[in-house]
Subunit: 653 residues, 2 copies
């Protein structure tokens, strides 16, 4: 895609909704499960009495977060995102904290979404069971390949599965509601089971009970991930951008809440029982169901109840759920590399991450994301419940800092704004963002308290490592920049070396040597000499004799090498020239072979490479490679044309 | 060590024996076991009736091989070794076959010797049991480190453990013989057990019996490995070299035969019972001893019997046996890299293997040997019996071709020799080598027939792969040499390019850029221009403005890059210059940063590297790196001084 065509396609609301909403909406596939699982640790009774309350608490947080982000959308129509908001208003360290948190969370989005998608697909396609991790890794590899090839989904390609998912879930909810009111809603497959408390949770009360409720709430807050996506994407909306984005955000929030509430209601009506450890917690007539019991997801069990006698409905719900979860993972494949690119632009990550390849894909970022997510899936065996413990810490770090930043933003603007109407608007926004900040901060504390030992600690550790690493990289770039800056008053930099002393390295007389000599002579240096190292006196004598016989018009000097080394005598010789005439420039010409295959390269040039690496450390020396293209290199250039593109300009900053 | 001091230390016979004999003598630690184990497959009766015959057959082969190699030693006082003998007399393909076989066998020498050493040490140090593979790999790593550091044992350091081993084994034999004659030789720990035939071998006769006997003989021939070591090392002997070497060879053979026969006799007298599958084959009162039974080696069991009531004797035999086996492995650490270096000299392996490092160690060869041996030890879990199946195929390929080569050698010399006394000597030598060739060839056929499916097939496959690979490498080097050869009549090679067109790549104005410009100007090219790629129009405008403001006396050209690439526009521009003026030389100056740490390098220069790689494929272009040493690179040069030495001369052949 040409630069001048970038950013032409603006999205109407009906396309923007599916493009940005897949992550947020897809969490309805696992958030209810996590609430029920966690409460179920204390047995079926607590689920019945408390699951509604937990769901309502999650909905309340979601309402606040959506209202808050509507303010972000209006304040940052350029689509700053949480990283920008925190950096601008709270300083680079806050920004970097958000950046670290989001990088970790993008990895978890991929791991959780793909794992959950595979788990949900298992409800309809039983043969996946037992191979979840493998299937999940295959999907990650496919997503990676697709994104590396730069297949950029049009809004329409996104829209169809998202709308199908929304239609299937809401359709299922309506049909379920109808059957419930009609009194003929069948029970779910697990309705006949009893849910026993896990060992240690039999008699729970007081503080332990409150802690368990908070933990269930924390897990349920996974429903909030992806809400921030729209605030990053404001520039992609049709005008009026901010207004359309805010409307879409509200719409998305309403749909997400509707779906979450519907799923909680249906799971209750159909008597779904799920447990963290189904083999022992679930009993039939007092007997544990054992290891052979296969536990479907809430979505799977509800659909089997609602669509009882209509198996196609079950399959469709399962397929659409799997699809939207893969799309949700795919949003991370867009978000992670873009964030990496922004962090690289600001000097926190290696410049290579700032570079788009020829297909507009940030290849390095995509590969890093995929590798990290695949590793997580393998380590956690694609188990959503364990992965979810690491999740959302990052999201809430980011939410909280972003909202605090927004409060600062409004305070700063209020200091200069005189228009009373605008001021009252700003005060109102500041209150909303303030509530958002307090709410998100509280949730963050709850998440940390209840989940730290269950896995969130690892996420925090990963963020800390990223933070320290990125600070280190930034410091390095800053130091290099200061070191390289040209002093305005300093004109010495443009002084020319007084003389050029050219050296051509010679091992034997063949075409590459003659070419190197010809090239060196063409640059008309002040002094030109050929240099060989006397490792084997017989060979050196033969070389000298042939040199004389051919009348080569350049003197050949042989360096002693009592220890049969090559590199050291040459480096020492070059240094001795420099120390005698420090204003001279020494140019070392090295004949090099160019071959077409990597295994051919292994057979040549190793010592030349080593010598080049060594000479780079010697000041006042320039190394010139004189390539000789062998027959096998012909045509190889064209094969290189695909992948070899890059960004020297930025790479050298 | 300086070149002019190499090869000064010549060995007297009393030091040459231990230096060259450790491999040959150490096999007494496992050869008897393999004979007894294999015969034992058919039960204890066959062991009693046949083990002596097998041992005598092995001794007979050993006598013939030693007599044959005494001829080699006289014919090749320069210490040709089997590779040279086969190459000179039978052509390069025969030589390469021997080379492949020996490379494989050196790897197996390390794997078998170290595994056997660990197993033997287990007799005295029980805590090693169950961790054999780990201990073996640790020993290989230690040997590797020692050889990489170039610790070259003096003859004396070698001599002590070898003589201690010889003394302990022969002392044990004499003491055992004394006790046997005295009638008070105690039984070995396994003497009370019954040896049952393995399933399928209960009633064995006819062809199957002959086959089993041949298999036991094949395994016993492991005693012959290392016999050829002296014939490679003739130049290290004191004068008269050949005579001393032949005498030492005879001495070594006599000692090896004495030790082998002694061990066989002692194992019989003390009633040693060992089995391939001790848990089921060994029974006590008809009941299998089961998995908890720990089977000592023959050496271990015999020493426990002979030194009954004198545990220090058992420990010393175990320690000396372990030591000599490690020394035997160490001989491969010398032999493999030297052979690799000779093969590299002849163009069959990458030139790097021909290079000694600064400590005279062939580092690459040592690392390859260690990695292959460690892999084998891990794959075969350090089980000597399984490793031995792969062993000795290579040795006998090498023996056989070497002896056939010797027959050719004498025939060739007989064709020109007129002196009747010398002629009769040669005829006698030819007969001996002829017998050697027939004997070794027969053993090779027997080994292949009896062991191919037990593992020797893998060894043959490895040799075939090495052979094909080395032929391919040789062909490649030959093709490159022909392509690069300077035609004697061709004077065009020395023609100078008509003009030099210099290009300095610029991304921003900093010190490295100014240095590159100064260096480029110092070479006074016909045309000099600075080049930037217009990826971001704003940045390019800013660069141009600063360029003008600073009055840099070189024109700055900006290349369009509609697809935001860097490499392609530059390469295309360079090509367009060349196509307009094909006799011009284009020199591209690339400013490069030099940093001290590898992780710093990752943060820079990536696009410059990519561009350099790409420009090497464009004919008529020379790439000059203008290094800028950053502060972190200072002092780094000195740290490089250790490892960075090499051999450009050979590397460029």
């Amino acid at each position: 895609m040409r630069s001048d065509r970038l950013g032409e396609t603006l999205l109407p609301k009906k396309l923007a909704l599916p493009v940005f909403a897949s992550d947020a909406l897809s969490s309805v596939a696992y958030a209810p499960d996590e609430i029920l699982l966690t409460l179920g640790l204390a047995g079926g009774a607590l689920v019945l009495t408390s699951s509604w309350k937990i769901a309502l608490a999650v909905v309340a947080v979601m309402v606040v977060v959506i209202m808050s982000y509507r303010q972000n959308v209006h304040a940052y129509p350029s689509g700053g995102g949480d990283y920008e908001v925190a950096s601008v208003n709270l300083g680079p360290k806050a920004g970097l904290t958000v950046g670290s948190a989001l990088l970790v969370d993008y990895v978890l989005t991929v791991a959780v979404s793909v794992s959950s998608g595979v788990q949900n697909a298992g409800s309809a396609f039983g043969f996946i069971r037992g191979h979840e991790a493998t299937v999940a890794v295959v999907i990650i590899v496919l997503l990676t390949a697709m994104n590396l090839r730069g297949v950029r989904e049009s809004g329409a390609a996104f829209a169809v599965p998202v709308y199908l998912f929304m239609a299937s879930v809401i359709g299922m909810a309506l049909f379920g509601l109808y059957r419930q009111l009609n009194g003929d809603l069948p029970p779910s497959p697990s309705a006949g089971l009893e849910l026993q408390p896990e060992t240690g949770y039999e008699t729970i009360g007081g503080f332990a009970l409150v802690f368990l409720l908070l933990r269930a709430f924390s897990s349920g807050c996974a429903a909030l991930t992806g809400v921030e996506a729209i605030s990053n994407g404001v520039p992609a909306f049709k005008k009026p951008k901010s207004k359309n984005a805010a409307t879409t955000l509200l719409l998305m929030g309403s749909i997400a809440i509707t779906m979450l509430v519907s799923m909680m209601a249906l799971s209750r009506w159909t008597g779904v029982k799920i447990a963290e450890d189904p083999a022992t917690q679930l009993t039939l007539d007092g007997v544990p169901v054992g290891d052979t019991y296969v536990q479907d997801t809430v979505m799977g069990q509800v659909s089997k109840a609602v669509f009882d006698g209509f198996p196609l409905g079950v399959v469709l719900v399962s397929v659409f759920t799997g699809l939207i979860l893969v799309l949700a993972a795919n949003t991370a494949f867009n978000g992670f590399p873009v964030l990496g690119s922004i962090l690289a632009r600001d000097g926190f990550l290696p410049r290579q991450l700032h570079t788009r390849g020829d297909r507009l894909a940030f290849s390095n970022g995509i590969i890093i994301l995929a590798a990290a997510a695949a590793a997580l899936v393998l380590v956690y065996n694609a188990e959503v419940t364990r992965l979810i413990q690491l999740y959302i810490v990052g999201v809430f770090v980011s939410f909280t800092l972003s909202q605090i930043g927004m409060v600062r933003h409004w305070t700063r603007h209020l200091a200069v704004e005189r228009n009373p109407q605008a001021r009252s608007h700003m005060v109102r926004s500041r209150i909303i963002n303030g509530i958002g900040a307090v709410m998100c901060g509280t949730v963050l504390v709850v998440v940390l308290l209840t989940k730290f030992t269950h896995g969130a600690g690892y996420a925090i550790a990963a963020m800390a490592v990223l933070f320290v690493m990125m600070m280190g990289i930034r410091k390095h770039y800053d130091r290099v920049r200061d070191e390289l800056r040209v002093d305005e008053a300093d004109t010495k930099q443009q002084l020319l070396p007084s003389r050029v002393h050219a050296i051509v390295l010679v091992s034997k007389i063949h075409k590459p040597t003659l070419r190197a000599l010809a090239y060196a002579r063409a640059t008309r240096p002040s002094i030109l000499e050929a240099l060989t190292v006397d490792v084997d006196p017989d060979e050196t004598r033969a070389l000298q004799a042939e040199w004389d016989r051919r009348d080569i018009p350049v003197p050949l000097k042989a360096l002693d090498s009592p220890f049969r080394e090559i590199t050291r005598p040459i480096v020492d010789y070059v240094k001795s020239i420099r120390s005698g005439n420090p204003r001279d420039l020494v140019v070392v010409y090295i004949p090099e072979y160019v071959l077409g295959h990597w295994w051919e390269q292994i057979l040549h040039n190793q010592s030349a490479l080593r010598l080049k690496g060594r000479l780079l450390f010697t000041p006042g020396v320039m190394v010139s490679s004189v390539p000789w293209q062998l027959a096998s290199a012909e045509g190889f250039e064209d094969r290189l044309d695909g992948p070899v593109v890059g960004d020297v300009r930025r790479g050298e900053g």
